[in-house]
Amino acid sequence: MLSANIRKFCFGAVMAVLAGPSLADLPVETVAVATTPPANRYRLYLSDMVISHFIDGKLLILDGESFKVLGNVSLGLTGHATLSPDRSEILVSTAYFTKLNRGERIAELDVYDATTLKLKAEISVPSKHAQSMPYRGAVRTSADGRFVFLQNATPATSVSIVDRVAGKFVTEVPTPGCWMIYPAQSVPNRFATLCGDGTMLTITLDAEGKPADRKKSAKFFDADEDALFVAGEQTGDNYTFLTFKGNVQVVNVAGEQAVAEKPWPLLTAADLKAGWRPGGYQPLALQEKSGRLYATMHPKGKEGSHKDPAKEIWGFDLATKKRVARVPGHHATVLAVTRGDEPKLYAVSTEKQTIAVFAASDKLKHLKTAGPFAETATQLDVQ
């Protein structure tokens, strides 16, 4: 009588009630909660603001080889995520309203264990976090992981300093006219920020995390003529940026004042004539070990085309500053490349929400295109 089974359906403690002696060939199982598998260098962190429901943003964690979903972390209302230096924690700068779209606004830095994805800490901060799309640099840790820097905008811009070790907010540093956070590698208590007047502002903190020094660099870019994309790639104390018109700008943030190198162009005269420009939300990826730089490029670029998806992805040799690869663009607006050996380049289309993956050797080799993932993802980080 099958009907006998149905008496057993119940609403709680199914295991306790039903898991009697197993007569089955297949073993009885207990429902558990998984942890993520050990991270390898191809783990991806895709930040999705979910524009149509942007109180419910999402960080999707993916295996960049199998494209299996490893887990999700809530980003809340226009939240921003970053990884701790040792990759053991995911830090989310976000806010909540007590009644979804009204009530009290609660702002905090949420700390998740990167293996269990469990919430480890909630650190209250001033209710000012930048309600922007996910961009690298909206939240970053100091090089030693002790401090966490949170970009604010009210729209007046400032940076909140959180002491991760003490688990508390320290202070707020005004950074008027400046945007995004670029920590130094060799000086843990230091970060820089890009300013609209074409400089970088460097903030140096004291041992408690309070600002001890602030110095502007010399002017090195012109936000009207050729603005910098803010999504830069870090290699040690250097940050590499692209400009709207396709120049590469390296800035060293180790000192009390940031020092900009001489920019160099991605474009040949012919490229320039065809109007090639970089475009997207994270248009640059830099692979340190192999000395390669990748960019999302579109032709016939003009004022206002700086978020256009890629028609092609170009690869450059950083030593020779010459193009060494040129492949179809897969509508990419976001690039990221893995660290170390056997690098893979990932190209996200914000429009299609697909991820194309390439073997990042000299000639980019398209391996597959996976997805769609997420809804309106604009930031991709690698392990």
């Binding site: 099958l2 006998a4 149905i6 359906f9 119940c10 089955a24 429902v31 979903v69």
Partner: protein
């Protein structure tokens, strides 16, 4: 839990026994009660295809046609960072649940399957599956699938559904 006692002392135990006496379910030769949660995402016309599932998908637990999902309605945890019997990291197992009996084509046996929702994290939204065989409106709550079975957890956010073996199905 208080509600648990209330629930079984109320009308639902009676309802369950009523089902057991003469059930639409018994006529289809398998116990396909409940199902996890809610409506499918898409497609809405997958309904009932379990019976005619292609053989090769019976063993792929990331497809709706996997044999254990005969009474599942929701997002598959195998697509969301979990496994066939483990909730994804950062979620919690639902406190309330329901069972179904599914036929394993590999050994020819019927297994009793527990469907647990995984709760507390933002909705996964991947691999939505929907079967309504044996489903009934909420006046038969135990076999109703248009409702959130994370409802009794401390966080009600529904993430996905697992399908664990809890024993052999009686036959």
């Amino acid at each position: 839990m208080k509600w648990f006692d209330d629930f079984f002392e109320g009308g639902t135990r009676r309802a369950a026994q009523s089902i057991s006496r003469r059930s639409a379910i018994s006529r289809i030769g398998k116990l396909l009660v409940g199902t996890a949660f809610l409506l499918p995402v898409l497609p809405f016309d997958r309904v009932g295809k379990a019976v005619a599932a292609s053989k090769d998908k019976h063993d792929d637990d990331t497809t709706c046609e996997y044999w254990r999902y005969c009474a599942l309605d929701g997002f598959l945890c195998t697509c969301c960072g979990g496994s066939i019997s483990a909730c994804p990291p950062g979620t919690e197992v639902s406190k309330v649940t329901w069972v179904g009996t599914c036929h394993n084509p590999n050994d020819g046996k019927d297994y009793l399957i527990s469907y647990n929702d995984c709760c507390g994290a933002v909705t996964c939204g991947r691999c939505g599956c929907n079967y309504n065989i044996g489903e009934r409106p909420g006046y038969r709550m135990g076999v109703h699938n248009d409702i959130n079975w994370c409802m009794a957890n401390s966080s009600n956010t529904y993430h996905c559904t697992v399908a664990a073996i809890v024993g052999l199905g009686e036959s």
